[in-house]
């Protein structure tokens, strides 16, 4: 009986220390978001979404150009990286035994570890130097290089989780391997693949360093891929280190919008392909 009590106490203690650890892990996230919510929400106004910057020193204006620029470059970068990344991931999981796959796997691992500023420099040398101009295109390429390895590895891991007997069942129906892969394995895991892609895109949309020497930034609306283009992270950075109070205020607002954007993409990815999860989530938060 005594021993039983002791075991119960020990159990409680263990659970307690784990809960403390979990709270410690969550604390930075909660602090950052609540801080941003306070500071950012207070600085936010409608102009922020609808207006362009005003001349230095004047109050007012907004970041419409940077919001559109981020969407523009992230979309362009995703268009380049996502199809390629999915193909790479499928290749690695389905045919990934030979030397090419080993090399590809190593390359993606290394690429995930490269600091994003280096990727920015790479895109600078590749596209900015030859064209003698900062450009949205070079920014999109830098973002694509960040997205690519994440998509490759996440889709590989997802598809590798599909048990062998599912592939065998497909083959046993007399289907060629590529049909089994595309229409049974990939099709059966679309939602997980989609989530992986969206997480990669969300990560890239918050990157500042790769855009500093590539898209660079500007103060007006631009839709040309060959010209400099503003983005939220760079605009936040520029405004935050400026001496003007109103710019600093807008920087907070920008940070707030960026966080909401990233969290939104994250949650959206989870729910869009999995309506059941959304229903559960709503039920939980309403009760």
């Amino acid at each position: 009986m005594n021993q039983f009590k002791f075991r119960k106490v020990r159990n409680k203690l263990f659970l307690f220390s784990l809960s403390i650890a979990a709270v410690v892990c969550l604390a930075p996230l909660i602090m950052v978001t609540s801080f941003m919510l306070q500071k950012g929400a207070a600085s936010l106004d409608l102009d922020f979404f609808t207006k362009l910057p005003v001349p230095v020193g004047e109050a007012g204006g907004g970041m419409l150009h940077a919001i559109l620029g981020t969407i523009y470059m992230v979309t362009l970068g995703s268009l380049m990286a996502v199809p390629l990344g999915l193909i790479g991931g499928i290749y690695l999981s389905e045919y990934g035994k030979g030397g090419i796959s080993k090399a590809l796997r190593l390359a993606t691992d290394v690429m995930t570890g490269i600091p994003s500023i280096i990727i920015g420099i790479f895109a600078y040398i590749l596209l900015v130097v030859p064209f003698k101009s900062f450009s949205a295109l070079s920014g999109a390429v830098a973002l694509a290089i960040i997205i690519l390895p994440v998509v490759i590895r996440s889709s590989e891991e997802i598809l590798k989780l599909v048990p062998k007997h599912i592939r065998e069942a497909g083959l046993a129906l007399g289907l060629p391997r590529w049909k089994v892969i595309l229409f049974i394995i990939v099709r059966g895991n679309l939602s997980a693949l989609f989530t992986g892609v969206m997480l990669a895109i969300a990560r890239a949309s918050g990157e500042t360093a790769p855009l500093l020497f590539t898209a660079f930034g500007n103060m007006y609306l631009s839709y040309s891929p060959m010209e400099p283009m503003a983005s939220l992270p760079v605009q936040i950075y520029t405004y935050a280190i400026s001496p003007f109070e109103d710019w600093q205020r807008q920087s907070w607002a920008g940070a707030f919008v960026l966080i909401i954007l990233v969290i939104g993409v994250n949650l959206g990815a989870r729910f869009l392909m999995n309506p059941k999860a959304l229903k559960n989530f709503l039920k939980r938060s309403s009760s």
Partner: protein, 255 residues
Amino acid sequence: MTSKKNVLEVKNLQAWFGKFHAVKGVSTDYPEKSITAIIGPSGCGKSTYLRCLNRIHEEVPGARSSGQALLLGQDIFAPEVDPVELRQNIGMVFQKPNPFPALSIFENVVVGLKLQGIKNKAKLLETAERCLRKAALWEEVKDKLHQQGTSLSGGQQQRLCIARALAVNPPVLLMDEPTSALDPIASAKIEELMQDLKEDFTVIVVTHNMQQAARVADYTSFLMLGELVEHGPSEIIFTNPKQSKTEDYITGRFG
């Protein structure tokens, strides 16, 4: 019975997993429109043998096989044979239920036809109903054809996989313990299905259920440690086997 043509003639079939010799030279003839049962202790190589016959065995890393299996006179292991085409003619129900994830019950049944290019909705629906009825699942799922196949119970999933294999309409059907997860009523329906199939097709079924083998199979093979101990008409294997090992096994003295 002896006048029947052989659909499948297996000659000295061997199979390995790496260095492990799992099937050690099995030779058997399978007459058309017949049911053959394969019995034997767990781990003796029944599944491996069956999986050689639709060339799924070679999909396992490190696995290989040798020997011949003549399907209507053509060796299925010959280099010019396309395993994809072969598997359209030799269907399989696996030992473990393996419905496709994220596909509905309906899609699970017709996916083979659909991916072979059949798009006619009415024909697909008709096939799905026919095959689900034959697999004794229709009544349970007819109101929820668009739910995921993986949402069914284990035994229902197994019947779904049977329906899926039937939909492709293969002249030879391999069934690896199709009823081991089923209740007696569903089992009886599957046995009925096998009798039905026999009208046109050739069935090879692995089972641990001696009564089942004796009931449905025209012929029975007894496998032990990868070797074919005895093969013959079921009534002889179950009443008057030549080998003492067979007799020991079917009377439950070991295994």
